[in-house]
Symmetry: C2
């Protein structure tokens, strides 16, 4: 299949592009590389050094004999997006090209607005471009399980049948997003569903859980193919961050009580899920939602798992509960359905001690690149008041 | 109360500003006047001539002895918005300052994006400005009944209690907006609800039905206080448009079967609803939704009502069913709750033959200003294909 991957230089995008190419698909990456600018702007860097995109695709060619085309184009540029779609004529368009950090979107008004404008403009451009240039292309859009929030009932895949006052309808599942970033993903979903209804676009909305790991068979082939490993307070996701803390004998910092339960998956399952979605396209006019995760854990459970593995490796490991910078429930019901991808053939990779150990090892190997100052949360949901008060002593090791 | 009305020069905004001022509130209008630019851009004009905003507020001072401050400021300009909030220190901020036409948002990608950027940026700016400058101010935000779409169950006011697999939760009511414009309002609602949760803002989201009429006691005091009367295919709402058609002995153009049922209210009830919301503010941290309408009608019912009144006035009046430019159900269940405003004291003004006759009379008086070419729909939800095909003979009188 011809597959256009927008945001193919990012954490999930790069691993996916390599995987799809390795499976024989004809992959084109479109990426503005703005994420690398954001790293510089906030003084962040991947724990594992990552090569330039040009070097990455050259190395992939050398290593695998396969070609991934790369074009540095911003999806907010509609003319450029249309031109590339005309050229590639993709069977599937995989859209990863968005700002994906909740804390980034909560820094201040400017970051909330920037997240909203970037994410929504890329989404509107993508659906309009498919409508005007390539309506048969299957849109595979990355959403997030965070769109649902933590309702007190089971989370279904995108829609729920509601009985009310003796009548019944199947309606979009109610959303309770927990950050300005998550709000953009809800807005995207609503827009895509609408585009499928009025233009008969075909779309799969992948509500992805929190991704962990950096290793895939392809990224491991060469250091120039390595994936990024974010551990900082803005882009670092919880399991990856815990593994860096464990590697440095830093206490694992659990936000609040740690009862926050979320959906998770290994990045090796991410890339497989995207392939499954591409190879089983939605029908014209169909908007479908797949909950893309394999397991549910509380933050406390993850800390315990990492601490146990770290201790088994001879690393002293404490768990520290710090003031929660986010506004979220710390003890709640959470049960989400994820049968759609399973029924299309996904075989989950459960979280293993081996995966945790590999992440800790990776962090130890690059320990000299870790900036501990980047780990404690500095972005609070409550804003300035919260920042100046409760979080003053947030990081037990650094403060 | 000190009340800041963003978008106070518009159709609902102007009538509301006058009414609140007449009731003794201290009103400041902030408006970019971009709506008047959009009229020029699309060759549209109010059927009833409207004075400049400066002239309007001067005339109000002369007529009533009361002062309405006016500042031409765009709410997309954050610094200017904050400065005005600092100066006014409003008890209530009423936010009408958005692009409010569904067809406008469906013209093409550029108009969809412009609608989204304008509406979302003003909304984000308003909530951030209240958070950073004036968290005790009560936000009164204009939403739309169109956020809900036409589900097969009763529409509640913002939230619904769902029982699912033996568990229960009260969740945001599922939304199915029917245009890019309506999508922005859903996004606004989600953002405001979030802001109330994390920042303890206080907000009332008014999901307003389709407004008809132009007459209020205050707008009638002088021609320079007259409200706008839109009858064109972009900004004209259905009842107002039918009355213009009747006045000109033009067939009333019903889109499709006419079974589309919607919520309606008289503009005299709009202004009263805003006052009720302001005078009964939400509590800190409270996000509440009022469905702001008084009656439900199908488009066919409205056409019949207008035709009957027109015939009673000696005007021949036909009803013509034309191809529906929108993608929407033309026969569906529709039953919406509207008890919140009633329980706070709203006494509805039901649609009367007198109101219809007054609108027809007004249109006859300004018949020389009507451009019939502006009435038939030229914006289609399906885009170019639909436009070139089925709508070729859409307007029986003009075609």
């Amino acid at each position: 299949m011809r597959i256009l991957v927008i945001g193919g230089d990012g954490y999930c995008g790069w691993a996916t592009s390599l995987y799809l190419s390795s499976r024989g698909h004809d992959v084109t990456i479109m990426d503005s590389l703005v994420r690398r600018d954001w790293d510089r702007e906030h003084g962040l860097d991947s724990l594992v050094p990552i090569a330039s995109t040009r070097r990455r695709v050259d190395e992939w060619q050398r290593t695998s004999g396969r070609t991934i085309r790369f074009q540095q184009t911003d999806a907010t540029d509609y003319a450029a997006l249309c031109a590339l779609i005309d050229e590639v004529r993709p069977d599937a368009l995989v859209h990863f090209g968005q700002q994906r950090s909740a804390p980034f979107s909560m820094i201040d008004r400017e970051h909330a607005v920037r997240t909203h404008l970037n994410n929504t403009l890329t989404n509107l451009n993508v659906i309009w471009a498919l409508h005007e240039r390539s309506p048969q292309t299957h849109l595979v859009k990355l959403g997030t399980m965070g769109e649902y929030g933590t309702p007190n009932i089971d989370v279904e895949e995108g829609f729920i049948t509601v009985e009310h006052n003796g009548r019944t309808d199947t309606l979009p599942y109610p959303k309770q997003p927990g950050s300005f970033y998550h709000l953009t993903k809800v807005s995207d979903s609503d827009q895509i569903y609408f585009a499928c209804r009025i233009w008969k676009l075909r779309a799969t909305d992948l509500n992805q859980g929190v991704v962990y790991g950096t290793y895939t068979e392809q990224t491991a082939l060469s250091p120039a193919l390595a994936n990024r490993y974010d551990y900082d307070h803005i882009f670092g996701t919880v399991l990856n961050r815990f593994c860096v803390q464990a590697a440095l004998r830093h206490p694992l910092t659990v936000y609040g009580k740690g009862g926050q339960t979320r959906s998770f998956l290994d990045i090796r399952d991410t890339v497989r899920c995207i392939e499954i979605a591409c190879e089983n396209p939605a029908a014209p006019g169909e908007y479908r939602v797949f909950n893309q995760f394999t397991e549910m854990f509380s933050v406390e459970q993850l800390a315990d798992r990492v601490a146990a593995v770290a201790r088994g490796m001879g690393l002293a490991c404490d768990i520290a509960h710090i003031e929660n910078p986010r506004t979220e429930k710390e003890a709640h019901y959470y049960n989400c359905v994820n049968t759609n991808l399973r029924s299309l053939g996904l075989e989950p990779t459960p979280l293993s001690d081996e995966t945790i150990a590999r992440l800790i090892e990776l962090a130890r190997r690059h320990a000299d690149r870790v900036d501990l100052e980047l780990i404690p949360p500095r972005v609070t949901w409550g804003g300035a008041a919260q920042r100046e008060g409760a979080l003053a002593g947030a990081n037990p090791a650094v403060a």
